[in-house]
């Protein structure tokens, strides 16, 4: 057997055994990404069919206590995404401040009448106060939209319902006739329209006692939500497992690079170099071992993801393997670069960890890249980890074909080659 091959195999075996026997490395590289990915995946909806995500806590302060304000409050309470609670203004403000309530809707006294009066621009608009938690400001526009919907529905229902009562339309007619805000022509047109409505309502039979009001303006369309992914439903774990695998495998790559510095420090590198083996065998075996370990971690993590969390390779299996192998090679090239550029152990480990964290953050492993500013989203095109995460996403929950793996694979292999060449250029062979 070729002596170079014997040495190559022995060196790979050494590195793989050293990794497997190191409990800390196993926990950090395998168990931690599974746990963190499971946690993040659960937060992002997991694989639950009904996606029973948490409801947004909202306070409703009804200082008006009119029919309009009560119906608005009831409408908000019926929203699936909100968990409303009625309370007074002081408590609502306190709970928002404490972060226990995202938004408080304060409907002032006279709200119902003023809203009806202001519908056609004749009366003064009432002011509804929205108290919101600035740390979760995304909740404000959601509540604002739902509030608008329910106020419009309730006020127009009051006006245009054929329920045998003309009280509301009479009051509105009086407001329009008395309004000095409306131009004379518009006042005349509105008066004619409202009189026609009043005449129509007067001809309708009175509804049964206790019947819910009907009619009024409604949303003139129905929504059909379709989550566009590979399967019948989106599996929130799939992206988490992609991101966390990339992060923790890169951490392992750091350890592989720092390991070379450690070997130099301990004299092991000197002893290896004293043997009749080429540089290609020495560094090639190191890279091959790191690649194998990276693939091993990825395999175990995705096995658990599949068996326990239902993550599936719904795209091209060959594409998934290609992305995985490319990323494993990128990890080993990163390790080699760290070994070439690193100096003292603690500084190298600290700096490398910082760089990897930045890379995975920009790669969208922690938070989706769409929350980044536009310029940053453009910039992450140059971050290889983004391609790794995107590639794994594409082959799993997005269910894309092999062609979608070509770009990630090309970027990862290109980056690996660039890193490896830089590492070989900077590697100090004579340093012990």
């Amino acid at each position: 057997m070729n002596t170079g091959w014997i040495a190559f195999r022995a060196l790979i075996r050494k590195d793989v055994l050293a990794f497997v026997r190191d409990r800390r490395a196993l926990i950090v590289s395998v168990l931690t990404p599974i746990l963190i990915a499971a946690f993040f995946g659960y937060l992002f909806g997991g694989d639950r069919e009904d996606a029973a995500r948490g409801k947004m806590p909202v306070a409703v302060v009804d200082q008006d206590d009119s029919e309009v304000s009560r119906q608005v409050a009831t409408g908000l309470a019926g929203e699936a995404s909100l968990a409303t609670e009625r309370m007074d203004a002081v408590r609502a403000r306190a709970l928002v401040r404490q972060g226990k309530v995202r938004v408080a809707v304060v409907m002032p006294a006279g709200f119902g009448a003023a809203a009806r009066s202001a519908l056609f621009g004749g009366g003064q608009k009432p002011v509804v106060e929205l108290l919101y938690d600035p740390s979760q400001s995304f909740a404000r526009p959601v509540v604002e939209g739902l509030l608008t919907l329910h106020v419009m529905q309730t006020v127009t229902r009051q006006l245009f319902s054929a329920n045998g009562s003309t009280t509301a339309i009479d009051a509105t007619l009086a407001d329009v006739r008395a309004s000095d805000r409306l131009a004379p022509g518009m006042r005349s047109d509105l008066t004619k329209m409202l009189e026609a409505v009043r005449e129509f309502q007067g001809r309708q039979p009175a509804p049964a006692a206790g019947a819910a009001p009907v009619g009024g303006m409604t949303v003139p369309f129905a929504l059909s939500d379709v989550a566009v992914s590979a399967g019948p439903r989106y599996n929130g774990y799939a992206h988490s497992f992609a991101g966390m695998s990339v992060q923790f495998i890169l951490f392992m790559g750091i350890d592989a690079g720092v390991g070379v510095l450690l070997m130099r420090q301990q004299g092991v590198w000197r002893r290896l170099r004293a043997a009749p083996v080429s540089r290609a065998v020495l560094l090639g075996a190191r890279c091959a071992a790191t690649t194998l370990i990276a693939l091993g971690i990825l395999t175990v993590v995705y096995l658990v993801a599949g068996l326990v969390f239902g993550v599936r390779v719904q795209g091209s299996a060959l594409g998934f393997v290609a992305v995985a192998v490319s990323f494993a090679l990128f990890t080993s090239a990163t390790g080699l670069l760290i070994a070439a550029l690193g100096r003292s152990l603690p500084a190298t480990r600290g700096l490398s960890t910082f760089v990897v964290l930045i890379l995975v953050m920009l790669g969208g492993a922690w938070v989706p890249s769409f929350v980044f500013p536009e310029w940053l989203q453009q910039a992450t095109v140059f971050v290889p980890t983004r391609w790794a995460v995107d590639g794994l996403d594409a082959m799993t929950w997005r269910g894309l074909p092999l062609s979608a793996a070509i770009a990630p694979v090309a970027v990862l292999l290109g980056s690996s080659l660039a890193f490896a060449l830089l590492a070989l250029w900077r590697f100090d062979w004579d340093a012990d």
Binding site: T3, L17, V277
Partner: protein
Amino acid sequence: MSLVADDLHKRFGTIDAVAGVSIEAAPGAILGLLGPNGAGKSTTIGMLAGLIRPDRGSVRIGGQPLGRDADPIKRQLGLVPQELALLEELPARINLEVFGALYGLAGRLLDERVAAALELTGLADRAADPPREFSGGMKRRLNLACALLHRPAVLLLDEPTVGVDPQSRNAIFDMLENLRAAGHTLVYTTHYMEEVERLCDRVVIIDHGKVLAADTIARLVASAAPASRLRLEYDPPPDDAACAAVAALPGVRAVGLAGSTLTVTTAELGAVAPRVLECLAARGLSCRHLATQNANLEDVFLALTGRSLRDA
């Protein structure tokens, strides 16, 4: 198989780490490289092992020039580094298998060599344990065994007994003497003169990257330091005037006072000793203890450099 290094030079930045070192190690003998820390011993070993490219000069193993990296002649070399260069987390057996495989050993031959090495080093019952659980002496023995697996003709040992207990040191010395008896060529670097005196057939004394002397121990001592030393302990110790009086006596080469011990160097011990005692007795000083010591490598180094080996 002989090892010959001719006019080795190596410069790091502005420092000449090795400046013209030439050595010759013969089969069946142990050549000692003796010098203080920083003398250039490890750099020399690095060049002899093919790890450091000399700026000038050459190394030949059995008449063949030594190259770097995958040069097959390196198969004839074994290196025992100064550091405990072991895979601390892997079992002793795996350590031996890895370092054996680096020299092309595989299969049954590797298994046999590993078993023999474990027996030789007394580690057979700890073969499954990682070196991090070993004592310093056990690690040193394993460190040595890793370099012997491929049975090199030339063994380079860079301070292989640092931090070793006396029992393990003796075990290592026994192993080295057996290797010498088996015809291996050994180059042994140390700054412990006692080790050189026990083991080495020839000695090369190095300081500041240069060879100061190279010969057998007996010849070095005879040529460079023919004097003996007389150690006298006084209480109270002699003052400066008394020391000066002793230094002025016929036959006295040097006088030194350390604490209450006066050291007198002379080539005429029999004649000088009574003169020194009389001189100091005349000054009211009575000797509490007297000892004599023949010249050794320490004296040789002192004579060559003007410094003590331990202080250098």
